[in-house]
């Protein structure tokens, strides 16, 4: 599965196409909350994570999510990823336990989604 680095707002239709190429209704993603970029695609979140690390991201800034472009706006982003389990940062869950960090990550991701119409 192809992985794309997203650095600018992307039309929702394009994200739907990406989801279709990946898991049908869903595409896996990794967000760098520091550099404010995304990696979308890949069979595992770790694939996107590895790409961002190669591109200069720091592990501590990377958080995995699932994007469902067909769902309503407030249901599109799901923070559930094995790469989010990071005891060294106090995160012992597949989601992001720090509410503020979670909200910041969500806003960054939403900034890349250009809704249709």
């Amino acid at each position: 599965m192809r992985i794309e680095i997203i650095q600018s707002p992307t039309p929702l239709q394009e994200l739907k196409r990406l989801a279709e190429e990946n898991y049908g209704d869903m595409v896996k993603g990794v967000v760098d909350v520091q550099r404010k970029i995304l990696a979308l695609g890949g069979e595992l979140h770790a694939d996107g994570e590895a790409l961002l690390l190669e591109e200069g991201s720091q592990q501590e800034d990377l958080w995995g999510f699932n994007l469902y472009p067909e769902k309503p706006k407030d249901e599109r982003i799901e923070f559930s990823s094995l790469i989010n389990i990071r005891p060294s940062q106090g995160n012992t869950s597949m989601t992001i336990q720090d509410a503020r960090l979670k909200e910041d990550a969500k806003m960054i991701i939403e900034g890349f989604i250009k809704d249709d119409g």
Binding site: E43, L44, D47, S80, I83, T92, S93, T95
Partner: protein, 95 residues
């Protein structure tokens, strides 16, 4: 082994579904047996040299499953999110 990664993880998910079923039925012995089968399948996946560059996530999954089996709840993760993790692979492997 010629199964795709999606198929392999899909099979792990099938055993986790069974474990979840037995957990709901309050049958810990059957639950644990299903978790052990899931771990066996995952270990076979970890040994598959095709995925050697993707061991991190697979190893983390194994760690979480071991924790569930040992009832070591240092990770705030139940079977449900793991089923959600495995299900897309299963759907994909069924085309």
């Amino acid at each position: 082994m010629t199964l795709t990664l999606a198929q392999q993880i899909g099979h792990v998910g099938s055993e986790l579904t069974r474990a979840h079923h037995w957990e709901a039925k309050q049958d810990p012995l059957s639950r644990d047996r299903a978790l052990l089968r899931a771990l066996e399948l995952l270990d076979a996946t970890l040994e598959d040299r095709r995925w050697r560059k993707r061991l991190k996530e697979l190893a983390r999954l194994r760690e979480v499953l071991c924790g569930l089996f040992c009832r070591d709840y240092r990770y705030d993760i139940s079977l449900e999110p793991l089923l959600d993790y495995c299900n897309p692979f299963a759907r994909k492997s069924h085309g």
